[in-house]
Subunit: 246 residues, 2 copies
């Protein structure tokens, strides 16, 4: 049992800084402990963004009208730009992107299949919530990357996600249909568990702190927890913003 | 019967300049006669590029491996950038993109459905041939646009289409499978007809030349023909390049 999964029902009240940057700069744990090696980090993030792009392309494909298609194309373009930026970082280090991404494909393909949803609204919500949480997560981990790649990746992933359009469509639909709102609230709560498992899989097994037997027992979970608490708080704000109970 | 459709079987031997720019600058007809009004032009081209993007996203979705997915994402990004550039031109003139594109959606959706193909290779070939022909066509028409929008649109559409990757996959598959080659040659010949019909639909009815009764009879087809001859020659070169008989 992964303990932080239980936290998701608890409303974590933390101050809400005005920008993502301000929030993410509050370092509560030594993130270097939690950051994977550079190439695996880039490979997982790049393949995640490719999947986000494919999901957004799918929202375009099944969009009910041309107006929605048009707006969503910008969001798909942002996800693609993130993917391409990460791929460029892999190439800069002599990596072959498809090889570096390959180890993460089975788990992320499975994640996409689980979170694809049954219709346009479920898929829009998946893109918004999973994309938001994992972008935040990869930005958070980037603090621990060597050299100047961390700030560059954080800048790339922190760029406006083009998700205003997702929020707009979801709000409009939920506002006119309370039944849809409670259905999507359930869907959002289900998504967060699967999404946090993807995040957890990115973190290498943490070495126990010397002389602290408790940390042996939990394999470093205590050092990971603050990160997940932040991620869940941001997720809750996204749900709140849509009028959904997290 | 549209006469230029019959030309496609005839190998048109024209000089092959080294760059697209050089080829397209050879103005053989007064293109201003053939160019539609600005907003409809932008709307049709923008919706075509959105469809190209959707087709390329589909090639990613059904790609047989991660290496192919990765390469195709760049091509999808180029199509999306063209769409977004055209949409920006529409907005700059106070147009609402979805409204400006809407009149062209039924015919272009129908075109996409007809040219989607039965498998990955047919779809790759559609993207390469139809994308190449209609990009060339919209660049050609842009000469007749008012103000400075023509050169800007030509530059946007003339940017490398990111289609090297399509050619690479098609060549590799055809080289190893002569049966696939003859199948795709047939598919390519079928595509050109449907693609030229899209081009034809963009050209407004041409006014007859004063004092030339023949031009009344053919509704200006003679003035359109040189443009289509160029487009078909370029199409033939693309087929040749793949080792397919046009």
């Amino acid at each position: 049992m992964i303990s932080w999964l239980d936290r998701r029902a608890k409303r974590v009240e933390i101050p809400r800084p005005s920008t993502r940057e301000a929030r993410l700069s509050t370092t509560k744990v030594d993130i270097a402990d939690l950051t994977p090696e550079l190439l695996p980090y880039l490979g997982q993030a790049a393949y995640f963004e490719l999947g986000m792009f494919e999901n957004l392309a799918q929202t375009i494909r099944i969009a009910p009208d041309l107006y929605s298609k048009e707006g969503l194309s910008a969001a798909a373009g942002r996800a693609l730009a993130k993917h391409q930026g990460l791929v460029a970082e892999i190439r800069r280090r002599g990596g072959e992107p498809s090889e570096v991404m390959a180890p993460f494909a089975p788990a992320l393909d499975d994640f996409r299949a689980k979170t694809m949803g049954a219709d346009w609204y479920e898929l829009l919500l998946s893109c918004y919530l999973a994309g938001g949480l994992l972008d935040d997560f990869f930005i958070r981990l980037s603090d621990g990357l060597p050299g100047d790649v961390g700030p560059r990746v954080a800048h790339l992933l922190g760029q406006g996600a083009g998700t205003d359009v997702l929020v707009k469509h979801l709000k409009a639909a939920i506002g006119g249909n309370p039944g849809l709102g409670s259905h999507l609230a359930l869907w959002g709560r289900r998504l967060v568990g699967d999404t946090l498992l993807v995040a957890r899989s990115a973190i290498p097994a943490v070495a126990p702190t010397a002389g602290d037997p408790a940390s042996v027992a939990d394999h470093g979970e205590e050092r990971i927890e603050p990160v997940f608490t932040e991620l869940i708080a941001a997720h809750t704000r996204r749900m709140d913003g849509l009028g959904l109970t997290a």
